[in-house]
Symmetry: C2
Subunit: 114 residues, 2 copies
Amino acid sequence: MKKYNIPVEAALEVIGGKWKVVILCHLIKGTKRTSELKRSMPTITQKMLTQQLRELEADGVIERKIYQQIPPKVEYSLTDYGWSLKEILDSLCAWGEKHIERNYEDKSLVLMEG
Amino acid sequence: MKKYNIPVEAALEVIGGKWKVVILCHLIKGTKRTSELKRSMPTITQKMLTQQLRELEADGVIERKIYQQIPPKVEYSLTDYGWSLKEILDSLCAWGEKHIERNYEDKSLVLMEG
DNA sequence: TGCAATAGGTACTTTAAAGTGCCTGTCTCC
DNA sequence: GGAGACAGGCACTTTAAAGTACCTATTGCA
């Protein structure tokens, strides 16, 4: 029985941490294979990627589709419930962009190219 | 020189972690004194509260107003820049509520009363 | 024949986030 | 005159998050 003092804590439990929002922001652009996600996140480790994907799946926000073929093919996509996070993800991304621009001069925040 | 692979990482650096979103969700309801914030977050420690407030202030999203009186009085409020997070915070709160309702039966997520 | 790509699992270690405990100072109230 | 409210600071420890390293299996390709 998890208890929250404020509802937003429940949201943080699902999308909190270093990677989940980033993963979801990639999946919002469409279904992706594991290797595609990995390439989109050059600094994530295989272990963290799998782990975070499992947790997101357990929370019902993403779906895992396994193709029975060799070499293996696995695709991840947002579930309907996951799509209910779209507004949050979109505004987070937009805010991040503005924040980088705002702090470009003094704090030198830079978006990697590529 | 901080570098991000995707802009949303910049947003996570400002509002990431266990407490910042919760603090901001309280401040969105209006200016609050340190002790009020502390009471709203029964499980936060004095140290974490101060630390997170300092970081939010350094990022320009909240403002700290000190009244020169005894006993001390310090008020925290969102800056204009902080208010640009309103959309994110609102939808995060709303999503959290829905998530608790959705999982009330099977996973027993409960919002503390009081 | 041996390496790359595919999608992982598992045990272990590191590092960063969070928490504990104890300290400051002044004023009011009992 | 001691206790509590107020807003912290600082050193230290704990715990949880993240990272490293090495393992599985199959196929195609050079």
